[in-house]
Assembly symmetry: C2
Homo-oligomer: 347 residues x 2
Amino acid sequence: MQMDERKKKILRALIQDYISSAEPIGSRTIARKFDLGVSPATIRNEMSDLEELGLIEQPHTSAGRIPSDAGYRYYVDFLMEPPALRDDDKMLIERETTHRIHEIQEVITQTSKLLSQLTSLTSVVLGPQKGKGTFSRMHFLPYQPGQAIMVVVKENGAVENHIVEIGQDVAAEELQTIADVLNRKMHGYTLNEVKRTLLHEIYSELTRQRSLLDSALELLEPILNDQDQEQEHVYLGGALNMLNQPEFRDLEKVKTLFKAFEEDGRLKKLLSMDREGLTVTIGGENKLAEFKDCSVISATFRVGGEVVGAVGILGPTRMDYSKAMAIVDYTTRMLNRLLRTSKRTPL
Amino acid sequence: MQMDERKKKILRALIQDYISSAEPIGSRTIARKFDLGVSPATIRNEMSDLEELGLIEQPHTSAGRIPSDAGYRYYVDFLMEPPALRDDDKMLIERETTHRIHEIQEVITQTSKLLSQLTSLTSVVLGPQKGKGTFSRMHFLPYQPGQAIMVVVKENGAVENHIVEIGQDVAAEELQTIADVLNRKMHGYTLNEVKRTLLHEIYSELTRQRSLLDSALELLEPILNDQDQEQEHVYLGGALNMLNQPEFRDLEKVKTLFKAFEEDGRLKKLLSMDREGLTVTIGGENKLAEFKDCSVISATFRVGGEVVGAVGILGPTRMDYSKAMAIVDYTTRMLNRLLRTSKRTPL
DNA sequence: TGTTAGCACTCTCAGTCGATGAGTGCTAAC
DNA sequence: GTTAGCACTCATCGACTGAGAGTGCTAACA
């Protein structure tokens, strides 16, 4: 069976209506609302075909039809009018992404808020992985007796503080010596690389200056084993918007959904970081069972050519794909520009 | 009308039963479950009195009674067995609060998680206000051209980074001079005080070294106007636990509750920071309408004698007050000890 | 051969009705 | 002061019903 023009028209009409009404829609309604020039009976026949093709389905015998995941997929790929942004949305995005920025955290939370606000859906934003940035240099500053502030600067501009324990008797010059050694050795490597391969090299270098050894390696401990290092935080915006979606009128569904929201790992999996550009994941195409009734529109963003994060919009499969795609697309474009132009934003 | 011994017994029985069952409870049930040595009819008469006293109420004519806010209040103040901790809970709290800690943030999130886990309710933790800590000193470190890292150390041990813009031509020594002036002037004052009263003094001091003036005041801008400064973040733990409470089976209630959760300001108001020690706020005693069906058990904690934060447990008015109070009480005790003993924890 | 009208059938939804059961308040007896 | 008895109230639940929406099938039509 082939998809002829009329079938396409009917499928498009059905999906568009369902997206806004969230109600199953029957042949009669389509005939009334959309001027296809044929009678309900004909539409019935066509709908029967569409169902056989797996593009629509019936919740129960005497209800109208609703789109299946495959139906949405067909719609997104072939039927939908191309994503276009409303002017006021466009302006809003531009206004929000042209601020002068001090911290990337700020950008991320801001973006997250913006996306959920524009779409009335939930937004998911994944920022740069802390451990990933390559090491540039470190400084030591005095702190309490027996402790020092270690300031670590990454090549991507990130700055971190760590309080480290030092012996009571370690002098400032000694710390400086250690810093010099570490800076020389570690420059240009990521902390993960340091952890895996470089440690013994540093070790042997420092062995020559016997007395410094003990402290030096202990100093590195907090930055190498920092919990935050590995798992980047995922920002969620407008989670409550989900409660307004009729598909989540059921408390059990809300529970499982919110449960999944609490686990950063789950959310991270929603954002397909491997694929560049705009990605649409519809319902069951997603691996996670908790989100089988949801679709995700996501895109990655870059700093200096390298993919460092992703933004996404999460909604019920019944969502306005065109609008969501337009918004995600434009937002990442602006984000890329913002991160490129702002002179070396501290990450 | 007076509260005689039998009325107390009945009220206690009713509340205890209601706390675990969440169902209105009638005279017959009380007579059966609790051995008071009187018939349901007698209990009925007493219950009628209790209702007149405003301690219990009837959801509808032919249902049993449930405690009113005033009833819970009476229960907490006079009837409840004194808060006692189960041994395993005690051990769990001790285990979690004797870790060596590096960051107070960590302690806060950890505590929040612990509390919600122990009670199966929602926990609210309010950490130290960043802006409050008195200024100790600052350092400058090199960063990108035209920018520097300003490291600010507070007297309570907090360390913060800020990237500041400096003229391309400002030399390290000049920065040092500025730092020296600022350190001398600002030491011992909170940033808020600096902002309000000290700025013009610093201004006139620096005016004498004309060339430095422009930069110096700009440098302070980020720390004085930092958004985070004023509003300390509120940590919420186990918000989902609320969904398991039968009183929140209604989606509308969930919506308003979670809406309130999203606003830090609202949550902050729940924790009575003005009162020291263990505080119990029952239902409508709370000012916020969103939480009129909730009770809060809260307590403040201190660092060095000064109240810096608060922890609280939020649950439906129908909650196990004894247990919750015991847990909050013990947790804050341990927290105080932890923060006192760990030698100058960085905040 | 494709389209349409007609029709019987299915299924959900909202509303009604009555039975059930828990609980109360009142009265009168103990 | 306490209790048994009783009439009354009210929410809940299941069964039933009619309305409405929608379908699939058949037969007629262009």
